[in-house]
């Protein structure tokens, strides 16, 4: 299993801050996002490619081809706007 976190507008759109998700096949960030989008329209819309969300695995920013393993902490969030 993976721990998946959502932040900011993405958290509000999906309606949860954190959930457990099964490791996708193949075990990559891209496959995880596909699996989440397939759940329902809310996920599909929030994770549409046009939305420019970002992914961090174990608190490091990664691309869609990054590998995942059981126990990883995956965070999905909009472009950051601090400072």
């Amino acid at each position: 299993m993976l721990k998946v976190l959502y932040f900011a507008a993405l958290r509000e759109a999906i309606g949860v801050a954190e959930e457990r998700v099964a490791l996708p096949a193949p075990a990559t960030v891209g496959a995880l996002v596909e699996a989440l989008r397939a759940r329902d329209g809310k996920y599909a819309d929030a994770l549409a490619p046009s939305r420019r969300w970002r992914v961090a695995v174990n608190q490091d920013m990664v691309g869609l081809d990054a590998a995942l393993k059981a126990g990883d902490e995956v965070a999905i969030f909009p472009p950051v706007t601090g400072g």
Binding site: A9, Q59, P78, P79, V80, T81, G82, G83
Partner: protein
Amino acid sequence: MPTIRLQTEDFDLSHECAAIRDRSRAIGAIASFVGVVRDMNDGSGVSSMTLEHYPGMTERALEKIVAEASQRWDVIDATVIHRVGTLQPQDQIVLVVVASAHRGHAFAACEFIMDYLKTDAPFWKKEATPQGTRWVEARASDDDAKQRWDSKGSAT
């Protein structure tokens, strides 16, 4: 060792600079930056702003940014403080202080840290306006500000 703090309470610029000055007698230059909540953004009045962050990753991202700045320039000491929670217009939101022997290094490292913080540190702003609340959109100009460091050598 740089100081990195996330906090809800306000900070005092003089206090943070004095703490840095007390730690080294080699400091000749201290550049600092304070970000302030504006009462207008994209044409709407802003009555308050709430900052969300990613506990753990945010601190880690700030540490990496300061470490990268310290590789590029002669940084004697640095402090980064970012507030979280709800803030009002004119509140201080972020502080970056960089101390060096010489001013060119202090200015460059301070601006570099701010530019990278804006694109790489997981913070998100939500504004309350008369039309309701809205998440602030990321700006292309912030990506541009970060990318110009790729083509620059270290300043003197």
